[in-house]
Structures are given as structure tokens and as C-alpha cells.
Symmetry: C2
Subunit: 245 residues, 2 copies
């Protein structure tokens, strides 16, 4: 009996089982962070909302750099032809102004200026370190592994939908024009997930590799969680870096 | 008159002025972080002390990797002959077991096992991101700039001395054998500062470069501060990542 159990333990998960293991990671998604819970129940003040928008702007700015890093390690033209869509979505292309511009509009809607956002003057060091870890991971890992780290997108549509549902009521002072980004990402994230999931379910073959992939996804979850920890310290505890110096 | 003022503003600082500007950054050193203030006044419980020692062990482990990264960009044999001393100090060489081993002894003195430390199982994600930012900076920047980022060592002897002075009284449960690391670094840090300071004062020539160097030092101060922010969240606020999931 013991041998059978161990054999099962070493057998790779089927595509369906593997996908379920990935989706089970949702419980660690930053939607469950206390900062996010306060935000989505209307309990943040204007300063905290602005802080979140300004810090998260560095994440938006980093996404195309991260995606270019993945492509810089990828010699498969077909993959690049699909993956480049993410860069076009964020940076904009032709008539589409893209996601970074949409986030700038969100910034203006919460009362920040473009200059404040573009200078990253409100960016907390710990938020920067977490996001830079994501970019450096994409630079240093095989493209398939870096690509699979983006799969927290599986959990994104729900978070965007909740913001669209709740914010207009909770934060009437935010200009409705600001919500374009969330609407835009609702459909893009769903399409990106399909592509990222295909790459991931194909690439990790053995059980050991599949288990390693769960750690890659955890790494990305750690980044999102840590970003909110830093914002918690700065905007909820009111202890931003050097506050007592 | 206005022209004269602007000329002065653009003139490089003298070596003495530049060194003073660097030393003035001491006010942002993590000795002033509230976590450190609690630690050095005997107010941390065993779990928090253990958390600090375990998280800081990842920093110790990263130092030789950071120093090898600096050397990997440096084609100057004389510099490497000096800089390699830092690797020897941390990894040990011949009969000297080195700083990492000394930190393991500190870990055992506070009640952690070697296995716990070496596995980094207590390492908080945000602490890892901050330390990895330091290693990646050393990989990606010219060696002189990466070398100059280590100058927070200017402020280290005081912090080590305070620990040696206060901990035996405040934390009588810590085995005295554990304090070898702090004693060892007292003299090494002083010698390293001389070398790092020489490189820095020589390398940054224009006022603009000198001002940029202040930001490099600030980046390193941000790393040390952010590490303690993460430990504050985990061990003082009792909100480690996913605590509510």
C-alpha cells in the first residue's frame, strides 16, 4: 500500500487537477488583504485611496517592462506575437491610449496630478522593491516560468468587478471617468489568462515541476500582498518610512 | 549675485563636504526605526528577536553574493584584491569560519536551529524583496556605484556596539556565545568603510553625480528600513502575510 501512495504522490497532476491547484491559490490573493477589505468596503480616507493609486501606478508602469523582459528571453515568434498584446494593451497602440494612460485618468479622478504620478514621488520603497522583484524575475527566469507568474490574473476580474460595483457608492468624490481602467481590464485579463494558462499547463510536466509552479504563483501573490503591507504601514498605521526621524 | 549663487550650486563639493553630506544621512539609519528602538531597549519578546535574527540571516547570506556581483563587473585587479576580503570575512577562509557561521551561532543563541535558519523558512517576503533589490542593484550597476551603496557601514559600528552594551542585560536568556558576530563586525566595518569611502569620494566628480550618490545611499537606507517595516507588521502588529486567510 505504502508504495502505491508514494507512486501517486509522484505522478503528475492532470491538466484539470493542476489548474484546480492553481485556482486554489485564490485564497492568498490580495483581495483578502485587510487594506483591500477596507478599500472595498468604503472605509479608506482620501489620502489612503490616493496613496494606493499612486503606488499602484508604479506597478502599471512596470508591467510592459516585465512583459518586454519575458519576450527578451523568448525566441518563439508565435508566443511573442501573442504576448506583445500585453504591451500594446498597457502602453497603447494607434488610437488606443492604453492602460497606463487609463490609470493616469484614475489618478486624476482621485485628485492627483499627472506630474505626481509620473514622478513616482509617493512611491513607498517597499512597494518598489516588491515590484522590481517581479521585473527581475522576468529578466532572470526562462520565459515560460516568468509567463506563468502572471497567472494571478485568474483572480483579477472579480477584483475589478467589485471596484466597479462598490466604489461609485462608497467614494462619490471620485470622478466616474476614472473607472475606465477597471472596465478595460475586465475583458483583457480574461483573454490573458487563457493564453498564460495554456503556456503553464503545457510547460510544467512532472509533479515536481508542477509543485514548483505553485511556488512561482505564490511568489507573485507575495508581491501583491507585500505591496499592501507597505501601504498599511504608511496609510493605516500612519508610519511611512522615516516618519519619526 | 544670482549668477554666483547658481555657480556655487553647481560646483562639486570638496571631499570633506561630500563626506559630511554622506555622514549626515545617518539620521535615516535603521537604528532609528521603532523596531530597532524597541529591540535596543529590551522591549522585544523572544519571538520578535528570533524573527529579526532569522530574517536578517537572509541579509547575511546575500552579502557575499552581492560582493561577488560587484566584482563580476570590475576589471580592476587591485580593487578586486581589496574587495574580496568582504567575501572572505563573510564566508570564512581557512581557519576563520566567517560571519555567516557567526550569525548561525547567534541564531542558536536565541533558540533557533541551524536548519530553520538555512531553510529561510521564517523569511518574510517583503524582507526578501528588499534584500534582493540590493543584490540586483549590484548586478546591474557599475561596480563603483554598487560599491558606494555599501556605505551604510559608516553607521554600523555604533549599532553593533550598542547591541554588545545592552543585550546581555536586556536579554539574559540569549547565550553570550551568540555575540561573536557583532564583535567581529566592529573592526571589519571600520576597515571596509575606509575602502568604500575612498572609492566613492574619488568616483563621483560633478555636483550632479555627488547628489546622485546621496540617492544611492538613500536606496540602501530604504532597504534596511523596509526590512524592519516588514518585521514590524509581522512581529509587533502580529499581521504576517496571510494571517487572516
Amino acid at each position: 500500500m505504502k508504495v502505491t501512495v508514494e507512486e501517486n504522490h509522484n505522478q503528475p497532476w492532470t491538466r484539470e487537477e493542476f489548474e484546480k491547484k492553481l485556482r486554489d491559490k485564490e485564497k492568498f490573493y490580495h483581495i483578502n488583504h485587510e487594506f483591500h477589505i477596507l478599500m472595498n468596503s468604503g472605509k479608506l480616507d482620501k489620502k489612503a485611496i490616493q496613496g494606493w493609486v499612486a503606488n499602484r501606478f508604479y506597478y502599471q508602469s512596470a508591467i510592459p517592462v516585465k512583459d518586454a523582459s519575458i519576450m527578451s528571453n523568448c525566441w518563439d515568434r508565435d508566443v511573442r506575437r501573442s504576448w506583445v498584446q500585453r504591451i500594446l494593451d498597457h502602453d497603447g497602440y494607434g488610437d488606443d491610449e492604453g492602460g497606463i494612460e487609463a490609470w493616469l485618468l484614475l489618478g486624476e479622478a482621485v485628485g492627483l496630478t499627472r506630474k505626481e504620478l509620473l514622478s513616482h514621488e509617493h512611491l513607498l520603497p517597499g512597494v518598489k522593491f516588491a515590484i522590481d522583484a517581479y521585473v527581475n524575475f522576468a529578466r532572470q527566469q526562462p520565459w515560460e516560468i516568468a509567463a506563468s507568474s502572471s497567472l494571478t490574473e485568474m483572480f483579477a476580474p472579480k477584483i475589478h468587478q467589485k471596484r466597479l460595483d462598490n466604489w461609485p457608492e462608497f467614494y462619490p468624490w471620485i470622478d466616474k471617468e476614472g473607472y475606465t481602467y477597471f472596465r478595460k481590464r475586465l475583458k483583457e485579463a480574461r483573454r490573458d489568462v487563457e493564453h498564460g494558462l495554456d503556456i503553464t499547463l503545457d510547460y510544467y510536466k512532472t509533479r515536481e515541476q508542477q509543485e514548483r509552479m505553485l511556488n512561482v504563483l505564490q511568489f507573485k501573490l507575495d508581491i501583491l500582498w507585500t505591496m499592501l503591507d507597505c501601504m498599511w504601514m504608511a496609510y493605516i498605521e500612519d508610519k511611512p518610512p522615516y516618519h519619526n526621524c
